[in-house]
Symmetry: C2
Subunit: 254 residues, 2 copies
Amino acid sequence: MRALPQEDTVYLGDTARVPYGTKSPETVVRFSRQIASFLVKKDIKLLVVACNTASAVALEVLQTEFPIPVVGVIEPGAERAVTVTRNGKVGVIGTAGTIRSSAYTKAIKRINPEIEVVTTACPMFVPLAEEGWVDNEVARLTAATYLQEMKTKGIDTLVLGCTHYPLLKGIIAEVMGSDVTLVDSAAETAKKVRAILSGSGELRPEAEQGNHHFYVTDVPAGFIRVGNRFLGSAFGDVYQVELEDEQFSEEDLL
Amino acid sequence: MRALPQEDTVYLGDTARVPYGTKSPETVVRFSRQIASFLVKKDIKLLVVACNTASAVALEVLQTEFPIPVVGVIEPGAERAVTVTRNGKVGVIGTAGTIRSSAYTKAIKRINPEIEVVTTACPMFVPLAEEGWVDNEVARLTAATYLQEMKTKGIDTLVLGCTHYPLLKGIIAEVMGSDVTLVDSAAETAKKVRAILSGSGELRPEAEQGNHHFYVTDVPAGFIRVGNRFLGSAFGDVYQVELEDEQFSEEDLL
């Protein structure tokens, strides 16, 4: 919204089924397909998979199945980390699903195989952010516990590989110290979107003003409350929708 | 399984969509209906809603809509707390959804309106239990933070109003002190099930040996890992199933 204010956005938050970070790849792929189908029916010209876990496990499937550009958040974050690091040692933190997939390690090594990548899953960070505990002793001790080993590895760059983690930036920086640069994917992903749309001649003129539509799968109240923590103010109407499951019977699965 | 070893059980864990404690009542009711429909098709004679959040918000709907006895975990826990307390001051901890519903307070006051009930939501307890952090400093500090105010209220009984909380019994007891009795609903719920089946003449002879079937909505691996923490050993085959959503179009909702 800040980087490309002229573009419309259609956002789907699967609030009835979050979090994704603890689910299996199979289930994340199934849910991601449902969401992509919903958004493609809204006539979008490009799809951003703005969730690290879904990017890590479902991106290729979506790129194969849908006829529009599909951009994940892993590659932009990996590119940024490779640019930022001076000593060639990069840390990555994320959900269990993202870390288990090794998606960041693979993406970083595709750009530069020489770079050493150290990864740690931090499952408690999402609940902490959702609880609003981003600057208390529990958050500090949790960060210290997860990052204890990471600190001994000599990294100079740490990728915040989950959409919620930038909310914990303060205490993560405190634990890691000022020598470690924190990287998050949001700004890089927006740049990539601009580049793709610009390349295909689909970028809107800057004079225009985009509209934003929000859809969620649970009732909107909770989403509006947490969303305000990210966007900082009221962000218009939020509608509840039902995602369609692929229809197969229980017998197919047994 | 321990209290009524002669009975078959059919268990459905909605692992693709947990946790329920953070979802709206509307969504918990919708998911609970899907699960009840699935289990009723398995020809069960009684349904236990073995989740505090679902019991708190969906029990009445299920009791109205399904033609078999439906037993929740709130009432048995409330009855136990009323029996246990000596000073008439009872604490209840649970998920945001359970506490917001006031289901325990209402159930306790229905039995004895004189009893004072103090409640606190502890959203971080489920992620802690899932992470296996049940006896470290983060768990201890989280419990101390949530229970700080509860400790000043002079309660002598505390209801663990969420299926995961008994895993944190050790540190909860440590924080609350030995004067406070911890109550969980599991044993009381099993007693209630026995009483209902006995009353209707549907209790199996004790010489029989029940079979147990487990169904989940995500792939079984994660469920088996966490399930072992509760049941203590391998518990047979676990099948993945798809729950059917009520079919209504997006337009119905807008």
